[in-house]
Symmetry: C2
Subunit: 196 residues, 2 copies
């Protein structure tokens, strides 16, 4: 193990821990002591890697965008099938995940909500995450072969974001069943045929 890897490993460990704590407790409401509690990592080490809390938050959001958001569709892509089936399976998957673990919303959006007008660098991650998801929906719509994949992809992204926020606010996965219906309707209207 090289020194670089060891440092990166510890840095990554901090980021993962902070990721969970911030996700569950919010950014402002969660102090750095809470992030480090029972971790065996000292504050000094944290501040060696991340000179400010905001810096840590940005690293967490980078981790979220590059790791979680980028791989959102990996499970349904792995299962294969045509693009439309993947879109619908995606909503089923998210519903199942929420049934297993309470919804926490989108971390990027939460960051944007807390830091809009206060820290532009952090707030920007909300837009980045949203656009990343949107582009993946657009790509799938292109594969489906609809007339205007950009428009449809953005519409589906709107439905997805609304579903995520409602699933969290309502505390259950029920919005996903209406969302799947709505997405199916939108895909139908775009001229695709529904498959069994």
């Amino acid at each position: 193990m090289t020194n670089e890897e060891r440092v990166g490993g510890k840095k990554l460990d901090i980021v993962k821990r902070a990721y969970d704590r911030f996700y569950d407790g919010g950014f402002h409401a969660t102090g750095v002591d809470t992030v480090l509690a029972d971790s065996g990592i000292s504050k000094r080490t944290l501040y060696k890697h991340f000179p400010t809390k905001e810096n840590l938050i940005e690293a967490v959001l980078h981790h979220y965008a590059a790791g979680v958001v980028q791989n959102l569709f990996a499970p349904v892509r792995a299962k294969g099938g045509d693009a439309r089936a993947q879109i619908e399976a995606f909503f089923d998957l998210r519903a199942a995940m929420i049934d297993a673990q309470p919804a926490r919303g989108c971390l990027g959006i939460k960051a944007a909500q807390e830091y809009a007008g206060r820290h532009a660098g952090i707030a920007a991650w909300g837009e980045r995450a949203a656009r990343e998801v949107e582009s993946q929906f657009v790509r799938l719509c292109e594969e489906v072969g609809v007339a205007h994949p950009a428009d449809l992809g953005r519409q589906i992204n709107i439905v997805f974001q609304g579903t995520v926020v409602l699933a969290q606010a309502l505390g259950d996965s029920s919005p996903f069943v209406q969302a799947k219906q709505a997405v199916a309707t939108l895909l139908d209207a775009a001229g695709t045929s529904r498959q069994a």
Copy 2:
């Protein structure tokens, strides 16, 4: 002016001020001193009316739910027209409002995001606000006369919530154009005829 009204007036003044400050700055990030700054109201008076900050926040959310959310559809209802036109006009109206003033999202949802798992009474207002808007969409769908107004109303609410959150994260009203398209498609599929 009765004593009750005077007290209520000052109490309402505090709530309105807190409403704006919390909306712009977030709940945890905005201190009570910030709420009172340049208001000519002392902290003592605030704590006479609201024994804790959380109590104030709940009053703000009550004000939001009873005032803002309940009247969301008042402008389009006042203009009249059939129910479908009102739904579509609603999205146009929201887009125009966001063009005039940056989107701030839904205060109830923000509260739920910040206080989920931390203060149930506050977090519950997110669900309340969401269900209130949903019920208004459902009512309009009933007026439209679709087969399953409850399902369609919930679908449209999902689209609306997603649009609100994206408009804030992206910083412009562009999501509303796709949202209006999506809603029109959903209404079309539900068997209504589009009017000019």
